[in-house]
């Protein structure tokens, strides 16, 4: 998949790919066996969903340097695309899901002019655009989006099938990001993130590179939205455009550490697990702890779990995906 270095003496690459194979293999085997051994399908479904969301978000913020506070827009559009196609156009689910991805890409293209902005301006505009998306869908005719009741997908729910589809989406997302992190596009994105003007004077077509990164970051949440709509069998604007979806995505990605492939995976696993643990014990405190955890992360672990380790051990950077 990726260009393996032609110099066999480069042992760093060998360690790197061994780690990729080990972590990736362990993740895949573990998740594949969840339904077989009757483990908690719902918990693991959402774990995979958050791993995918946080990893895709990482392309936007870790690789490209944008903080889209309206990230949920892509997820919501994806959820409604699948729901509308299945419910109103009688598409089979498997045919509808790719269209969710396409919807995400189209939305990314529509939002592409915002990439001219930087820093907080980008964040604020992104937030506003997500608000506009929610209002537009809420106010579409009831025959299409189901109004405030939302859409029921009817008898198409199939938890185990959707579980494995979610797993496939996660694997594709992680493979894409792994490729990106070593690809020339990934280097161009990072250079643009660090200093866009300098990158452009070094011959990087900055607007194009940013657009590619942005589209990758938009595609996966849109598909996630579609799969989740299928899994829960119901879609409405309140849940599909809930700002907490953005919040969780951001927090999980930051907790693990932006800019590395493993960061968001580790962040999502740690935080989803913690979330579940707390939710079981103190269901009411869930939101509070999410908030406090975010503040604590920014103050005490701004580089995330993986980022902090790599700061202590810079020589590990070459080995850690």
């Amino acid at each position: 998949m990726m260009p393996v270095s032609s110099r066999p003496q480069d042992s760093a690459d060998r360690i790197y790919f061994t780690l990729v194979a080990l972590i990736g293999g362990a993740l895949m085997i573990y998740f594949a066996l969840v339904p077989v051994f009757g483990l908690n399908v719902a918990f693991h479904f959402y774990l995979m969903l958050w791993i995918t969301m946080a990893s895709a978000f990482n392309v936007s913020s870790g690789f490209s340097g944008y903080l889209p506070f309206g990230y949920v827009a892509f997820y919501g559009i994806g959820a409604f695309t699948t729901a509308i196609l299945v419910k109103k156009a009688a598409f089979p689910v498997f045919l509808a899901l790719p269209f969710s991805g396409v919807a995400g890409l189209v939305l990314a293209l529509l939002f592409a002019p915002t990439l001219r902005l930087s820093g907080i301006y980008f964040g604020i505009v992104s937030l506003a655009l997500a608000g506009i998306c929610r209002l537009v869908i809420t106010n579409m005719p009831e025959e299409i989006t189901g109004g405030s009741f939302g859409l029921q997908l009817g008898s198409r729910a199939h938890p185990v099938q959707s579980f494995y589809v979610m797993m496939a989406v996660m694997v594709v997302a992680l493979a894409t990001i792994l490729w990106l992190s070593r690809s020339r596009l990934g280097k161009a994105l990072r250079a643009t993130r660090d200093d866009a003007d300098a990158a452009e004077m070094m011959g990087i077509n900055v607007p194009r590179v940013r657009l590619y990164g942005w589209m990758i970051a938009a595609f996966f949440p849109a598909v996630c939205g579609g799969v989740e709509a299928w899994y829960t069998n119901v879609v409405d604007t309140e849940t599909a455009f809930n700002t907490l979806i953005t919040a969780k995505t951001v927090i999980y990605a930051v907790a693990g550490g932006l800019g590395t492939v493993t960061g968001p995976i580790i962040g999502a696993v740690a935080m989803v697990w913690l979330d579940e643990l707390i939710w079981r014990q103190f269901p009411l405190l869930n939101l509070l702890i999410l908030g406090v955890a975010t503040v604590a992360l920014v103050l005490f672990l701004p580089r995330g779990i993986v980022g902090s380790i790599l700061r202590r051990k810079p020589q590990w950077r070459r080995y850690v995906p």
Binding site: P3, S5, S6, R7, R184, K187, A188, R190, A191, R193, D194, D195, D197, A198, A199, E200, M201, M202, G203, I204, N205, V206, G259, P314, Q315, R317, R318
Partner: protein, 237 residues
């Protein structure tokens, strides 16, 4: 002698301030053109206009005879021009190797070939032991060397150096002067910006003096050294 880079009547205004006022200059392959002037004379603006970061309000830029005025910086870069910055602008959170790969990302050579070339370049700049470090971990002087290496990666026929010796200690200065001599020796047109006359006089084949956006003198080192307009611009009011 073929003209590598030329500007004709280059003009740039910022609001009411005229930063560049009809600047004409040329540099041939293998020539080092020194550009001097006090702070605010328009040296860096000139460079930014040449490489496309600023769109000039008037005049034209030609690279190897081709008009590139108004083209975006990445297109201008591919015409064969590289540069460094007054305050180093390295890609902070990327390894030195990756920093060097950025200008050659769309070259057809394989990753392994390019990496090998980058390592060779880092060795020449005495940075090879740090090749896996992040650029932000380098000292200021080392960052200047890294920029120079990055600029040279695509082997551009024209290079522009913006105050390469500012804030650099004498030993490193000497090292950099040798590298710049190598560049012109290899047939590159070198545009060297500095307000420090000593190094300019040593390296340049020709010198252009800017003041308030205008060329006030042009010629060989000896002509400039005694030129009353230059002396006045430096010492006068």
């Amino acid at each position: 002698m073929s003209i590598a880079i030329e500007t004709r009547g280059l003009t740039k205004r910022f609001g009411g301030l005229v930063a560049l006022d009809g600047v004409d200059l040329q540099a041939a392959a293998g020539e080092t053109l020194g550009i001097i002037g006090v702070n605010g004379a328009g040296k860096t603006t000139l460079m930014n206009c040449i490489c496309g970061l600023y769109r000039p309000d008037g005049g034209d830029v030609f690279i190897s005879g081709e008009r590139v005025t108004g083209q975006p910086p990445h297109v201008v870069a591919h015409k064969g021009i590289g540069r460094t910055f007054q305050v180093p602008r390295v890609f902070r959170k990327m390894s030195l190797i990756d920093n060097l790969l950025v200008p050659v990302l769309d070259h057809r050579a394989s990753d392994a070939e390019l990496t090998e070339r980058a390592e060779g370049m880092l060795a020449r700049m005495q940075l090879i032991d740090l090749r896996h470090n992040y650029a932000e971990e380098l000292s200021g002087g080392q960052q200047k060397l890294l920029e120079m290496a990055r600029m040279l990666m695509p082997d551009p026929p024209i290079v522009m150096l913006d105050e390469p010796f500012a804030g650099v200690h004498p030993v490193l200065c000497k090292f950099m002067i040798e590298r710049i001599e190598e560049m012109s020796g290899a047939g590159k047109a070198v545009l060297l910006i500095s307000h420090d006359l000593t190094s300019i006089y040593r390296l340049s084949t020709r010198v252009v003096a800017l003041n308030q956006g205008k060329v006030i003198a042009e010629g060989g080192v000896d002509d400039i050294r005694g030129n009353p307009a230059v002396i006045e611009a430096y010492l006068g009011t």
